[in-house]
């Protein structure tokens, strides 16, 4: 379970209070600058909350932990390391380069269709492949919680849709708890069980929207074609619009 209450000196985000159940997929949507990424950094232990607590399975977060995996907006693979070297990096950093874990990385690379690319360098792969490698690098240390910081935003539309399905399937089959930050409303609905709509100045959670079962159960791509999808889209859209209109006097 993740529990967040936070208040920073710049008051980036305030009064954030939510919990994620194990295995649940939750999305944070909101205008840029609403502190979505700040929340991820707090949960990842990269930032310390000025006030409040973050707990993972009841334990307070103290610095980065291999229990939390983080996928960045771009792949940020080290160009001087091979694909395999990049994937093993997390294990190396956490001193867990065992034979068993190496095999696990091999298995993950195979699962992502990257087995052939093992000894290539990142510059030799396409953007979509690189982001898949980045997913393997994150999964290699076997985190329980995945934080996804707009991981599809730098990809072209087709690749993005394919990767959404792949990430969704992978996270479900590995029973990971996930928190996705995005500004793409339909991506949020298609992938998650619950959508948290945020407002800014300071960042707060304005509304929580549960995604109905028939959309939840489908792959992100087909979820978009389910009845009811558009109603949720419109609800979130309206919510963000009122936020934007309400935000104009401050801005």
């Amino acid at each position: 379970m993740v529990y967040v209450t936070e208040k920073s000196p710049l008051l980036a985000v305030s009064g954030i209070d939510f919990a994620i159940r194990p295995g649940e997929f939750v999305s944070l949507v909101g205008p840029s600058g609403c502190g979505k990424s700040t929340i991820l950094s707090l949960i990842a232990g990269l930032l310390k909350p000025s006030a409040g607590h973050i707990r993972i399975y009841g334990e307070p977060v103290r610095g980065a932990s291999p229990r939390v995996g983080y996928m960045l907006q771009q792949d940020y693979l080290f160009p001087w390391k091979t694909i395999l070297g990049n994937c093993l990096f997390g294990l190396k950093m956490t001193n867990r380069l065992t034979e068993e874990n190496r095999n696990y990385v091999d298995y993950l690379l195979g699962e992502m269709g990257l087995a052939q690319a093992k000894h290539l360098y990142p510059s030799q792969l396409s953007g979509g492949m690189r982001q898949r490698v980045s997913l393997v690098r994150t999964l290699a240390v076997q985190p329980e919680i995945m934080l996804l910081d707009e991981p599809f935003s730098a990809l072209d539309y087709q690749t993005k849709l394919q990767l959404e399905d792949l990430v969704w399937k992978t996270l479900k089959s590995h029973a990971k708890t996930a928190l996705l930050v995005t500004h793409d409303i339909s991506e949020a609905i298609a992938m998650s069980d619950r959508v948290l709509v945020m407002g800014r100045n300071p960042g707060t959670i304005r509304r929580e929207i549960a995604v109905p079962g028939e959309i939840r159960r489908e792959l992100p791509f087909t979820a978009r074609e389910q009845p009811g999808f558009h109603e949720i889209f419109r609800t979130i859209w309206e919510e963000l619009k009122t936020e934007e209109e309400g935000g104009i006097p401050d801005g």
Partner: protein, 284 residues
């Protein structure tokens, strides 16, 4: 460039034998034009060089210029051959080369190490910032006399001058490249709980490696400045010493010969480092 063009041209010619599509013809035409231009540039360079030496020789022999001051290629060549034969030149070349080599290597290593120290301690970086700016702005060879007093007249102070010229600029350039590393790469290491040392070792250093290697190249040139000035001031051996000696005894043939030797050795050294750079930074 021709090396890259040729195999393609050949394979295209083979394709041409079967059928000649427009792109093959256009490319062949382009390649021909490019080759002709390249040959013309080379030819012009050689002609210019030959013209310069011939004119200089004629002007010298006919007394159009003061031979005592400007000598002429024939005399310089004679002296060079004589000095090579009696073996009195090589020790000078060797001494200067060694000093320059030590200078740019040490300068790069010390500069990079200092940059690492500044990266490590943000406090130190902020404290030293104005001092670095002042040191970088001042002409380092002006420190020559102080270095001689401090390090004694000899190898140490020549190396000191070369170091003074190279270290500060290396520190600044490398430190800047350390700071310009995309913070998201640092984030990756921190997310896996990596230490500050891990960040340096796995991100900062490899990401800045190309910059460090290219400062090596810049430092070759700077190191020559430091070494020659150092030799002007104190040396009893070296090409800089030969220049000053030639100047003092009014043997300008010796001065000009030394200049040519410096030009040759410096170019060779620069090309060697440039070659090394290409080898080390070969794209993957």
């Amino acid at each position: 460039m021709a090396d890259q063009v040729r195999p393609t041209a050949r394979s295209l010619q083979r394709a041409q034998a079967e059928e000649a599509p427009l792109e093959t013809e256009v490319f062949a035409r382009h390649a021909r034009r490019e080759r002709r231009l390249k040959r013309f540039v080379r030819l012009t360079q050689w002609v210019l060089l030959a013209l310069f030496f011939v004119l200089w020789e004629i002007a010298g022999r006919n007394g159009w210029i003061d031979v005592l001051l400007f000598s002429y290629p024939g005399k310089v060549g004679e002296l060079l051959i004589a000095k090579l034969k009696d073996g009195s030149l090589l020790p000078h070349v060797w001494a200067t080369t060694l000093e320059t080599f030590a200078g740019f290597l040490l300068g790069t290593v010390c500069g990079a190490a200092l940059a690492a120290l500044l990266w490590w301690s943000r406090f130190l970086a902020r404290v030293l910032d104005p001092f670095l700016v002042v040191l970088n702005s001042m002409p380092k060879v002006a420190l020559g006399p102080l270095l001689i007093v401090g390090l004694g007249p000899g190898f140490a102070s020549i190396l000191g001058t070369a170091l003074a010229v190279t270290v500060i600029i290396t520190t600044i350039v490398v430190f800047n490249s350390f700071r310009e590393v995309d913070p998201n790469y640092v984030k990756v290491v921190r997310l896996f709980g990596g230490s500050r040392w891990a960040v340096f070792r796995h991100v900062i250093l490899p990401a800045s490696f190309p910059t460090i290697v290219s400062t090596l190249k810049v430092n070759v040139g700077l190191s020559w400045v430091g070494v020659i000035v150092g030799e002007f001031l104190v040396a009893r051996i070296g090409l800089g010493y030969l220049i000053i000696y030639g100047f003092q005894v009014f043997n300008f043939t010796l001065v000009i010969m030394s200049l040519f030797v410096i030009a040759a050795v410096a170019t060779f050294m620069y090309q060697a480092v440039a070659f090394l750079e290409r080898r080390m930074l070969r794209p993957k």
